[in-house]
Structures are given as C-alpha cells and as structure tokens.
Amino acid sequence: MSDLIEIKGFTNATLGWKAWLDVVSLDSATPEQIAVLEESHPQAKVSDYYLFLVHQPEVLKQRSVAFNAIMYAPGGMPRAERELGATVVSRINGCVYCASVHAQRFEQLAKRTDAIIEVFNDPHAAGTSERERAIVQFSIALTSAPDAVSPADIQALKDVGLTELEILDLMHSVAIFAWANRLMLNLGEPVFP
C-alpha cells in the first residue's frame, strides 16, 4: 500500500464519483449501450460516470477509443510520464477525482510519489529532473493557454531528450484531460471515503 497523500485538497486516496443527473439503468440499457460500456472500462457497468455518459453511446465509444489509445498505447512516451501529464492537467483544472486516479497510476508505474507530492503542492515548480520539469511546464502551458504554445515550447522538450513521438504522446495526454476533467468536474462530484 502506498502512503496517503493529502495536499491542498488533492489526494491519492481512492475516491468514488456520483452523477448529478439520472444515469442509465442497466435493466433498460440497449444492446448498443451495453456493448459500449464493456468496451470503455472494466468497471463501467457499475460506474456512475460511464452510466451517465452512455446516454450518448456513440460519442462515449469514440471517446473511450481515443482515451485508451492515448494513455495505453505501447512505445513512445513512458506511460508513467503520460500519467504525470494527466495529473498536472487535473491539478491545474482543479479536478480532484481525476488527480487522485492518475496520481495512483503514476505511482504504480513509476514506483514513487515524489513528483506527485510536488505537483499537488505547486505544479509550477514541480518535477524531480530536468525532463520531468519540462514535461510539467509544457502540460501547464498547453492547458492554460493553448494558442500561446510556440515552437520554443516544443524545442524545450527536445532539449531535454524527448523524441517527437513522445512529444505527440504528451500533447495527446494533456489534451485528453482537458476533455476528461470537464466531464468529471461538471457532471457530478467525487465521493470521499
């Protein structure tokens, strides 16, 4: 078991989530809705989040394909670093639920929590190495002011050794959490243990 982190309202504890409007009941779900739930996430059939989004199954299906391809595809940026990017975005956007999930995934993959503690404390100063700091800074920039992202920001990632595929993976990880955070923050709320 990992040590519990609780900093500035963010945590690595396992949280629940409940929807603010009516979710689809499995008893009345269509075969298409059931199929999309099964494709989306192993726990989707017991998750308020997926049971709410499945009101529009085709949209959820494509979101899940994109999400899973971005976060789990082999090669490119190490998965721990994609999770770090996701956690930074969630910290900047104030999504406590997403931050908790992806803080845990970072720890599972990287076998450490130091970078997460830094991100929760002060994302702008976070990163335990030059490479990590560059990843964190880029994640903040693309989240806060996408149109201001410039060739110099890409060069800064190359300068600390990121390949172009790694940079693409980071962009996708940051962008998909602009998407995920807005659903988690605005359609329901975390449930604390």
């Binding site: 603010w20 409007l21 009516d22 709410f52 989004l53 009101h55 529009q56 085709e58 949209v59 959820l60 494509q62 979101r63 394909v65 994109a66 391809a69 971005i70 595809a73 490119g76 956007n93 104030g94 999504c95 693309l142 989240t143 996408p146 149109d147 992202v149 410039s150 060739p151 920001d153 890409i154 060069q155 172009e164 595929l165 940079i167 693409l168 993976d169 962009m171 996708h172 940051v174 962008a175 998909i176 602009a178 998407w179 995920a180 955070n181 807005r182 659903l183 923050l185 605005n186 359609l187 709320e189």
Partner: protein
C-alpha cells in the same frame, strides 16, 4: 476541386500533408487520429437527435472564442456561415456577447459552455441543473458536455501540432 484536400479536420486546420514530418509523427498514432475524427463527426452529425446542428456549432464557436483558439474559431464560424445561421447571432458569439442572446434555451446552453471553458472548477451542480430547467433532456445534456469537452481537447491537439509544424518549418 477538393479531392486533394485531406478529410481529417485537424490535418486540414494545421495544414499537415504527408510531405511534412509533423504529419508522419501524428499518424504514428493513427488510432487516436481516427477516434478524434470520428468523435467530431459524431458530435456534429446533422442527424443526431436533440441539440440542433446550429446549436452545437454555436457552442463550439463560443468555446474556441473563449479558449481562445483562432484556427478552430475560424473553422466553426465558417461552418455556421455555410449553414446559413443568422450573421448577427454568429457575431454575438464571436464577440462573447451572451447578453445579446434572447432565446432562453440557447442562452442557458451558452452560459454552461462559458462556465466549462473559462472556469470548470467553479461550474457546480446548479450550473448543470440549470440545463434541465431550461428544457434539455438528459441525453441532450450529455451531448452538450461531451461537445464542450471534445472542443477543449481538439483546440489543444491543434495548438500542439501547429507549434510542432512551425518548428519543423523553421529548421
């Protein structure tokens, strides 16, 4: 003729063609490229029941205007023009002048969009529950939230790839 135009929206907006290295890098993640395009096509499918296509494009235009994302805002503005949506309505959205929107349903949709783009953490349960009060069904609320969230994603992919392309062209 448009036969040589790429059909992928992000490639088209960023100006990526197979001769560019940035295009090759992006297409190493073809599954993401395809799911991104299919997400957009699903959210802007003219036959999707619920929110009208004009309502959905107005939401996208407001989201891109507020982010801001010049490339994406120009795209959604053009699609609204092509759909023959009233010019003054498009201009109000481009100017962020939501107080000029008189239709209560559209105004509640755009108010929710404004909240999710500018300060998602402050948009609370009351912001969401204002939508059913304005007459939106739950599936319509889901479409709206996914649409705003998708555009938040799309503008960032476009911005990142655009910076990568500009760096490539500088070299």
């Amino acid at each position: 003729m448009t036969t040589t135009q790429p059909t992928d929206t992000i490639d088209r907006l960023v100006g990526l063609s197979p001769t560019l290295n940035t295009y090759s890098v992006r297409h190493q993640r073809d599954k993401v490229v395809a799911a991104t395009q299919k997400s957009e096509e699903g959210l802007f499918d003219p036959t999707l029941p619920g929110l009208t296509l004009a309502e959905r494009l107005l939401v996208a235009l407001l989201a891109c205007t507020l982010t801001p994302s010049a490339l994406c805002a120009a795209e959604y503005r053009q699609r609204l023009v092509d759909l023959n949506v009233e010019k003054s309505l498009i201009d109000h959205i481009s100017n962020g002048a939501l107080e000029q929107i008189t239709d209560a349903r559209l105004r509640s949709i755009l108010t929710f969009t404004h909240a999710l783009i500018t300060d998602p953490v402050k948009a609370d349960k009351a912001a969401l529950q204002a939508l059913p009060i304005a007459g939106l069904s739950t599936p319509e609320v889901v479409t709206l939230a996914q649409l705003i969230a998708f555009v938040s994603y799309q503008v960032r992919v476009v911005a990142g790839l655009n910076a990568m392309k500009l760096l490539e062209l500088q070299a």
